[in-house]
Symmetry: C2
Subunit: 428 residues, 2 copies
């Protein structure tokens, strides 16, 4: 059996490696630099450890599409980002689908793992494949399975970057397929690598399920951010309130913060786009998105207030900004709200040094000043902004951070409550 | 020791009974009818079983305020509803506070259990007590505890009507007090009746914690209601999506539905009122409230659509409406969205019979036709609307409901997914 996985990112790479323990897997990515690194068993997302490369003996990484010919399974795991206007950007998905269409054979199964709005698999990808491959789409309405055609499935990824506990082999995998035979084939594929399989009632149900998982997370963080704004005005500490409410048996634990990255802050827009396209404006989800998208500005405003109060001038100020990946313990800075905040501080002409020893610096376009813990100057910063605190630097930072501050008129902004309440001038 | 509990409803009665196992308790309520019933060990909310009255030997129920004199503890557990304009209605709370103020003595502790916006205890109740009683308020700023004064605390109730599992003796009780000595006294009071005590950092933190518990629930149901509306347009069944998403380790399980009663649909307005009063419009919470408040209209619209589609005329139609308390297994119909929906159907001149053998019929003002399972006419309803299904009638209903329907052109509306998907014409 030959399996092709398209997209060697967070989702595709771990999946391809797992599948290759048993079957022949082609790990395809358009990025030749990435392919060269993968051939050397290096994963720049830091999600896969070297030892997992070694276990995968039947994998072949390539950016040459001629290797994709006649695979039994095509698994698409490409990013589905949003455009500047916050609408879905399906260009990578469509490109990948065209690639599949050109290389598919009769009885192949095409599986989409990327997050999309309900209907994408069957209304966008399937027509592309049909048109280019001239094959039939075999679904519930097809008379039989042995026509010259292909099957489809939507099997949403549930990758949580930086989370080594909920990896694909340990979680419940949702699958769906275009008909019972497709489901059987897809089930056989995943059951060898996943702990538990859940068969969703249809492809669009599975698409909807994936998108609401992240939407629920987004709206819950938005609620806590909104509460944090209210409580700031009422001089109540949000984290103390959450600790109290958290003692109720059914209180869901979420915390305030900036929502960045390529899932939580992006996926809801796929759903709101689809919803608007059928004439319904989803005000709850949009209100949540608005609050979350505005958090870096809110934090900035509070920093400006503190500067005024303490009579410090931005142009003469040195700021140490701690952590700028989109969340803890990941190398990824795409759609990082910390970077957004740093850029806003730069616009105020503050001199900002970033301390982050985890991120992938090559991926940040603009020049920024990066520091390692060792290279930090003592007694030299007016302000420390604690944003993203990677686990492995927590203890050292907590112990030493005061050394880097000037003695007078200093400001500590502790966005996510890293320090005890009384040690910071502002926290969400 | 003498304890006064003011308000013998969902919150006050179970609390008073528990406390009276050890101490002398006065259970006060302004409603003389209720007091007479309680004296006969009858609880019309159905929250307290007869045997629990029998265990409580040191309780005295009264509507005569002269019995309140000189209590050591005053616990206020009166309703805090909203006015028609959705703003907090604190009249009952203020009345109760005045009653306390008139009967308080030096070193008394006043505890508020009712849900309020942050600041109510110390900014509304305390000034009333100070003014009328001429006593000092002893708090963190007081020099010592032996001045001629009173203490305060906010110890939020966590009663979940109809829930016999999370009763006050089995849950974590949040307490807070005006100073350390007050906290000590309050802790001693509750620790004898509650499984676990959590001391919140301040009175207003505890007030905030209580209000966000229900606000979180409200917004999460609102999200699911919004999703349900989107998915209806996309021809996706919401409950199937929820079943799929529910297989993710961190998906919080909420379901679509009408949000009525006197907690979830009311408490968020206390917070939004306070928030607006300090200049911040909480758009996420308000968007959630709007969706939830509109659900009966949304369901009505879908019923009207079905009537048109099946060519049935409301004025000639007979509807069986199942369940009209504000939620399952409670007798209470206050702010019931099912009643709201029945009233809207009545306005369309449909003949609606209500089947509900659990609710307290005396409390429904307008005349409605109530039926018991036995009194239902067979083959006579065009439509059955399943709204609130009390546990004890589930099986019988599921088995027999079809008998009551006419043979032709029938409609089944299954708001909360009581039946298998294919058995209803509409569900959320």
């Amino acid at each position: 059996m030959k399996i092709v996985v398209i997209g060697m990112g967070y989702v595709g790479l771990p999946l391809a490696l797992l599948l290759s323990k048993k079957d022949n897997v082609i790990g395809y990515d358009i990025n030749s630099k990435k392919i060269n690194q993968l051939k050397k068993n290096i994963d720049d997302t830091n999600e896969v450890e070297k030892k997992n490369f070694n276990k995968a003996k039947k994998i072949f990484f390539t950016n040459d599409s001629s290797y994709l010919k006649n695979a039994d399974f095509f698994i698409i795991a490409v990013p589905t980002p949003i455009k500047k206007n916050k609408e879905p950007d399906l260009r990578l998905l469509k490109k990948a689908t065209i690639l599949v269409a050109k290389n598919i054979k009769s009885q192949s199964v095409v599986i989409l793992e990327s997050t999309v709005f309900p209907g994408t698999t069957e209304n966008i990808c399937v027509p592309i494949i049909k048109r280019i491959s001239k094959l039939e789409y075999i679904n519930k309405n097809s008379f039989k399975n042995d026509v010259k055609g292909f099957y489809c499935g939507f099997c949403p990824e549930r990758v949580n970057p930086g989370d080594k506990e909920h990896t694909i082999d340990k979680i419940t995998k949702v699958i769906s397929g275009s008909n019972q035979y497709a489901i059987k084939k897809i089930n056989n594929l995943y059951k060898s690598i996943c702990k538990k399989i859940y068969i969703s009632s249809s492809i669009k149900t599975a698409e909807a399920a994936k998108i609401i998982e992240n939407t629920q997370r987004d709206i819950n963080i938005a609620l806590i951010n909104e509460l944090s704004k209210i409580f700031k005005l009422l001089k109540i500490d949000t984290r103390e309130v959450l600790a109290t409410a958290g003692t109720k048996w059914n209180f869901s634990k979420y915390f305030p913060g900036m929502v960045g990255g390529h899932c939580i802050g992006v996926d809801p827009y796929y759903l709101t786009y689809k919803s608007k396209s059928v004439g319904f404006k989803p005000n709850v989800i949009l209100a949540g998105r608005k609050i979350n998208d505005g958090m870096s500005n809110y934090i900035l405003k509070n920093i400006i207030k503190l500067y005024k109060k303490k009579n410090i001038i931005f142009t003469k100020s040195r700021i140490l900004f701690v952590g700028c990946s989109f969340k803890e313990n990941v190398t990824d800075t795409r759609n990082s709200k910390s970077i957004e905040l740093v850029e806003k501080l730069n616009k105020l002409k503050a001199k900002v040094d970033i301390l982050d020893q985890v991120i992938n610096k090559d991926k940040i376009k603009d020049i920024k000043v990066f520091k390692s813990l060792k290279s930090l100057d003592k007694n030299s910063y007016d302000t420390i902004i604690f944003s993203v605190i990677h686990d492995k630097f927590k203890n050292t930072l907590k112990k030493n951070y005061k050394e880097y501050l000037k003695n007078k008129k200093k400001i500590i902004v502790d966005i996510n409550g890293f320090l005890p309440k009384s040690d910071s001038d502002f926290r969400l």
